[in-house]
């Protein structure tokens, strides 16, 4: 027979704190679980509190069982599965809230709290930002406080009374956390396999470009990459970050060329190289961004025929790599016939008016370079406008843009100019990437945001190779000189970070970004490869050595903690007279005379004097001095010195 021990359950007050703590733990999940689940969790918490408040019985087994079945079914209906990350987390939240309804004994409370710790860990699936981690640490603190409260015999005590103890305990656990973080072997990739759809939400450049696609990215304030330069950062007009190169064209959409056997074109450096390190935010695509134009990176990635840098797998975690670029260069001096065909290809029936325009240009200009200049000048001569909100282009997009609306974002200009060049028989392609980037004075690195997304054109000239031209610069020179906000001062849709001011808000936001960058760099970027590197440098090649290092550093940390705690638990700060007396007592103890803990100085001195009659006076003097220092009205440095001296001079024969 089981006896329900109602006495063991928590008091209403502690229960309220407990519910609050678990609510704190689950709150961030409300961002991604369905609304009904949030409502159910809150309802369960409220129900539990009301029932306890009124002293009513908790729901019976049948009701609870029905609730579990209904909840599980609802999760299945919402997610299509009860496995997987999202559904699993949702199920965990639901079950944790059901657990509240059957929390009767102290053991149940313990289970609920441990479930809470587990729930805290699940947040890291969704976000690993510094802010998240700080929040999670606060919840760990709260749960630990509650754990202490529920373990205390007197349930009446307020949890707030234990926050200090909880903080102390967590602080004591900190060294162990750091040791395990640094030394515990890291698993390549996440411990669990992430479903593919987990990366859908990542913003970034696409491998296709159609009218409107880049202006869409430009709305985002998110960071695309951060770069630290070994020397001076390049001037703003040269901050072209090369991304996907698009050369396949179907009349509306530009796409990456299919893989070709051709190797990367050769690069001839015309200036000194610029060295820098990039921290690339995940974008779920395989390409790596570099400053135009890169000559090498320290990562397993290769340049393709269009000199686009790609790695094997999509970038799904924040990565860091070093790169070297030359800002003045000559790229691809020769062009094969097939390549020439590819880069001048246009759909047969597309853009008749544009082709006509190109033809007239071609008739006027025989020299390719002059034709290009003339073509670029067209955007300045004609009333083109640069805007984030171009009118819709429904028919033949290029013709409509060039001869009708005449207002567009960088992708419109880049696409139209490429079409014009190709129509004039000059090999041309669209390059997408980012233009710009702002130095963060708080961290001495450059931030490139999604709002810096840009598209420009590369044209090939005989004897000159691929040359970068930016038609946008002819419409809105400010875009290149000052960035998006400078070019579009009136448009409200330009994201916040794109504005570059010196206000307090900008200052704080940059400072915050710098802190985050450090977090990313020193904590999140600590990958298995980096750990391996560290281990090699620490000469911890084999796993036995790693295990030994973990054990040794743990032992060291625990010993340090133990010393600290022991020292603090002693009389602190120890009275110097008492310390001297203790030394005297231990000296006598070594000679066989132990002072009882309850023995006062006079009694002990009397005993000692009886044991060493020749030293009776000296012992008596020591006890007198100690008594005067510790219990007397005044105790100066001089008396203390005299006590030390007397103890030192004492000669005992055993």
């Amino acid at each position: 027979m089981t006896i329900r021990r109602h006495r063991e359950c928590v008091s209403n007050q502690t229960l309220a704190w407990l519910l609050g703590g678990l609510g704190l733990v689950m709150a961030p999940h409300a961002l991604h679980v369905p609304l009904w689940l949030t409502a159910t969790v809150i309802a369960c918490g409220c129900l539990r509190y009301v029932l306890s408040r009124r002293g009513e019985r908790l729901p019976g087994r049948t009701i609870r069982l029905l609730g579990v079945i209904a909840g599980t079914s609802a999760i299945y209906l919402s997610y299509g599965t009860i496995l997987g990350l999202d559904a699993g987390v949702a199920l965990l939240c639901l079950m944790a809230s059901f657990k509240l309804l059957e929390m009767r004994t102290r053991r149940d409370v313990l289970v609920a709290l441990l479930l809470g710790y587990f729930l805290i860990a699940t947040h890291l699936i969704y976000a690993q930002t510094l802010l998240t981690v700080v929040y999670l640490l606060v919840t760990v603190w709260a749960l630990t406080t509650l754990l202490i409260t529920t373990q205390k015999a007197d349930d009446g005590s307020r949890p707030l009374a234990h926050t200090r103890l909880a903080a102390t305990m967590l602080a004591q656990a900190l060294p162990i956390m750091v040791i395990l973080f640094v030394l515990f072997p890291r698993v390549p990739g996440p411990l669990w396999s992430m479903p593919d759809d987990a990366y859908v939400a990542m913003t970034g450049l696409s491998d296709e470009m159609s009218p409107g696609s880049i202006s869409e990215i430009s709305q985002s304030d998110e960071v695309a990459l951060r770069a630290e330069f070994a020397g001076d950062p390049p001037p703003r007009p040269q901050r072209y970050w090369r991304g996907p190169v698009l050369s396949d064209y179907d009349g509306r959409t530009w796409a990456q060329a299919g893989s070709s056997a051709a190797g990367p074109p050769e690069v001839l450096a015309l200036t000194n190289a610029t060295d820098y390190t990039i921290t690339l935010e995940p974008h779920n695509k395989p390409w790596l961004l570099t400053l135009d134009i890169a000559t090498g990176v320290d990562r397993a990635a290769r340049f393709d025929a269009a000199h686009q840098l790609e790695q094997e797998n999509p970038v799904r975690e924040r990565i860091r790599y070093q790169a070297r670029s030359v800002l003045q260069y000559q790229l691809g001096e020769t062009l094969s016939g097939a390549a020439r065909n590819h880069y001048t290809q246009l759909p047969d029936d597309a853009h008749p008016r544009s082709r006509e325009l190109a033809r007239t240009w071609r008739q006027e200009q025989t020299d390719d370079a002059e034709l290009i200049e003339h073509g670029l000048g067209h955007f300045r001569r004609e009333p083109f406008t640069y805007t984030l909100q171009p009118p819709r282009l429904d028919g033949d997009s290029i013709d409509e843009f060039l001869f009708g609306t005449r207002s567009g974002f960088c992708e419109h200009f880049a696409a139209a100019f490429t079409v014009l060049m190709r129509a004039a028989g000059i090999p041309a392609r669209v390059v997408t990437g980012y233009l710009g980037g702002r130095m963060n004075p708080a961290g001495d690195y450059m931030i490139v945001r999604q709002s810096d997304a840009h598209a420009w054109v590369e044209v090939w000239l005989e004897g000159d190779g691929w040359r970068r031209v930016d038609p946008t610069g002819y419409v809105a020179p400010d875009r290149i000189e000052q960035g998006l906000a400078g070019a579009l001062p009136q448009e409200a849709l330009v994201p916040r970070g794109a504005f570059e001011g010196n206000g307090l808000r900008q200052h704080l936001s940059l400072r915050w970004d710098a802190i985050n960058a450090y977090w990313n760099r020193w904590v999140l970027a600590y990958s298995p490869a980096l750990q391996q590197h560290l281990m090699d440098r620490l000469n911890l090649g084999s796993w036995q050595r790693v295990a030994l290092a973990i054990a040794a550093s743990m032992a060291l940390a625990l010993a340090g903690l133990a010393t600290l705690i022991l020292r603090r638990s002693r009389q602190r700060p120890m009275d110097p007279a008492a310390a001297a007396w203790q030394r005297f007592c231990s000296r006598l103890a070594r000679h066989g005379l132990h002072r009882r803990p309850d023995e006062g100085p006079r009694d002990f001195a009397r005993r000692a004097a009886a044991r060493w009659p020749t030293q009776a006076d000296a012992i008596d003097a020591i006890a007198q001095r100690y008594g005067a220092l510790r219990y007397g009205r005044r105790g100066g440095k001089q008396e203390l010195r005299a006590l030390h001296l007397a103890i030192r001079r004492l000669r005992l024969n055993s």
Binding site: R596, G600, P601, R606, D620, G627, A628, Y631, R633, R634
Partner: protein, 311 residues
């Protein structure tokens, strides 16, 4: 100035007084010392012992030595409060009530066998002890100063007695017992002169004013932080010992420190040592701790002290 005399070699200003008392009550140095400490601390003394061990003599000698006027009240079960504190009696000549002070209006009162009186009479005495004054028929009369009560109890004869309740026992600073004299002392007692003659010959060694001044001086004896911590440790220990129903109260703690100060002063020091606390602790705590009289002695005051380390 610090007079650290750990050994008794140098002696203190009280030594002649203590020696004189010891010359009358033989071999009872410690009870005499405790009684004098009790007087210096301004507290009252309860002596629990068999008849004939010298309780009355002790009280008498102390009264003589300090030059106090001395009254003895032999408590019996038919005694009324008025027999202790006095009463107003109608005076025919003056045609008015005149207050006749009772024996309690003395500087040193020996309340013999206080547990023979009814609770009503007991409480009349105990209230007078506490308040240092007596209220008769609406009129408050102060008791003489200094005012010192030595009460005696016979622990064995339970028949027809009203043992003092715990709350009343708290009014006594100390409870001590005198005990039988040892063999040498007893031989001297038997062969020596009559004690009453000796008492009559005893000359006062301190005046009343001096006693009051000394009582003031007790308050100024230094108790260092370390010593206060020790007293606190003792108090905490009595409260956390399960065999003891109620630990020592804060008032008992004050009493302990006051007695320890007096003990230190008796020893000629102006600061309290842990040994002083230990010396007075059984006297101060014994009657205040329920359960400390257990036969196995595990929770006797002495045993309790052994469990508390000196910080």
């Amino acid at each position: 100035m610090w007079h650290a005399r750990l050994s008794r070699a140098h002696g203190s200003e009280f030594d002649p007084l203590l020696r004189a008392a010891g010359g009358v009550i033989l071999g009872k140095e410690r009870p005499i010392r405790l009684a004098v400490a009790c007087m210096l601390a301004g507290g009252h003394l309860l002596i629990e012992d068999l008849p004939g061990v010298g309780k009355t003599t002790l009280a008498h000698v102390l009264a003589r030595l300090f030059g106090l006027d001395f009254r003895r009240i032999q408590f019996t079960s038919d005694m009324l409060p008025a027999d202790v504190i006095g009463a107003s009696i109608y005076h025919r000549q003056g045609g008015e009530f005149i207050f006749h002070p009772g024996p309690v209006f003395s500087q040193l009162v020996l309340a013999d066998e206080v547990n023979r009186a009814t609770p009503k009479t007991q409480s009349a005495l105990l209230e007078a002890m506490e308040e240092q004054q007596v209220t008769v028929e609406g009129e408050t009369r102060p008791l003489p100063r200094p005012f010192f009560v030595i009460a005696t109890q016979n622990p064995d004869s339970q028949l027809g007695t009203f043992p003092l309740p715990e709350s009343q026992l708290d009014r006594f600073l100390m409870r001590i017992s005198v005990g039988y004299p040892d063999r040498d002392a007893e031989r001297e007692l038997l062969s020596g002169r009559d004690r009453r003659e000796l008492i009559a010959e005893t000359q006062p060694m301190l005046g009343q004013e001096e006693l009051l001044a000394l009582q003031q001086k007790v308050q100024s004896v230094h108790a260092s932080e370390a010593l206060i911590a020790y007293v606190q440790n003792i108090l905490a220990h009595t409260r956390s010992t399960p065999e003891i129903t109620h630990g020592l109260s804060p008032r008992a703690g004050q009493a302990l420190l006051r007695a320890a100060r007096a003990w230190a002063l008796l020893d000629g020091r102006d600061a309290v040592l842990p040994e002083d606390v230990q010396a007075v602790f059984p006297g101060v705590a014994g009657h205040r701790l329920q359960g400390s009289d257990s036969p196995d002695g595990r929770t006797s005051p002495e045993a309790l002290l052994r469990d508390v380390a000196i910080p």
